[in-house]
Symmetry: C2
Amino acid sequence: MTDLRSTLATSGPIDLSTRASDETPGFEGKKKDAKRRLPQIGEELMDAQELLFANGIAGTTDRKVLILLQGMDTSGKGGTLRHAAGLVDPQGLAITAFKAPTDEEREHDFLWRIEKHLPAPGMIGVFDRSHYEDVLVGRVRALASAEEIERRYGAINDFEERFVDGGGVLLKCFLHISPDDQEERLAARLDDPTKYWKYNPGDLDDRQLWPEYQAAYETVLERCSTDHAPWHVVPSGRKWYRNWAVATMLGETLTDLGLDWPRADFDVAEQRRRLATM
Amino acid sequence: MTDLRSTLATSGPIDLSTRASDETPGFEGKKKDAKRRLPQIGEELMDAQELLFANGIAGTTDRKVLILLQGMDTSGKGGTLRHAAGLVDPQGLAITAFKAPTDEEREHDFLWRIEKHLPAPGMIGVFDRSHYEDVLVGRVRALASAEEIERRYGAINDFEERFVDGGGVLLKCFLHISPDDQEERLAARLDDPTKYWKYNPGDLDDRQLWPEYQAAYETVLERCSTDHAPWHVVPSGRKWYRNWAVATMLGETLTDLGLDWPRADFDVAEQRRRLATM
């Protein structure tokens, strides 16, 4: 069976405008099949995650996983968190939603605030937005000089390589949608008072800069999809595919860690005897 | 329908040795019924939590919920987290597992490290152990003077009252098991190499002090079950009941908040027009 990660991984130059957002690469079946399969994937994820978590508690691993979610507004970072990351035990999950940097954060290098949220051994971290914002909105809105933006691509690759060298695995997911997908989803938010809270007038300002953002994403995907931390383009026009794809790639990632249960650091027979006398 | 919280709430002196751990107060049916009902409770919890979370994002509420889990080793704090708290959207969940305090934490008042982990508006916090450890293990192992332990009950009540006055709701759950339950579960951990990581020889030292811990819990339940933050005794000999009970009480708590969806702080018609032109 082909690994979904290799199916969705990108390398080299990419033209997002030629990529359909409603494709379902690697998935055989229809929406109802994906929805039906998700609980089973959830069981498998729970088990694989417990193995990672157990080793973290026992102090027998330096492994940790970081899922990084990027995408235009309405691409479904929150939904992916809820329906894919939400399948695992919340004790082993560390979610960080990065907002516009605070004054204090702005006084440091852009990676300063990121480093603090890297997952600990045994944990699965999820970044809802990330250091990539600093070469996305940072570039499109010219929040930093062109030289500084240029410097950041290399800084990001170095930073991620250090994380991987320290036992980390990065699962970088670009949730790809089309302008039409976004229009439909923004309209849905404006038509439903229970969704107003997800709507921000600033989203339309960003929508107006769609081509600029896509160009910034294309540069990111080309320059920061590395051997140690490839980018995956996840077609996200169909929410059920997006959730299935991220959950499936997380499962592949956990399985690949090849961990065993931590061995007892105590004498099992002796403990049994002691327990029996109490 | 009677509120499960009022069924399980305790007030006044309590003798835990007379409380069965395998009762299922408030639940009609059997294990398979509870397991079957949990996904549906999950759906309801997700919806109720989204309402809280939405208000947090919109800045229209100061409400937040804190589930506090205490209990002897193997009472199932982790399992409750996984199966009850795990039903909600992990984005809205902030879990803290309190371990033995660090040197830095020990230099401050015992509530110092707790305060930092109180949930923000819109969030559901979960404490796996809590400030109560400082009057439980703190008392049983005489980690502080008797005067200091005595002072702490009042300090805890004041602290919790401030949290409630600031919009917080506390759901304090004591997961009650019997010595036999514990023996069975410890033995199960020693019989299964995939569970060794959950076992700690120190657990037997605590087990030896069972009566002292029960006495310390009885004092806690008597003195810190207040009108603003009652304690609930959750019979936890049956894991399915424990999970159902905590999930159900969380649902009641969220429903009680009586929140509405945040109103739009923008002109909906104008945004629709602008979107249509793009």
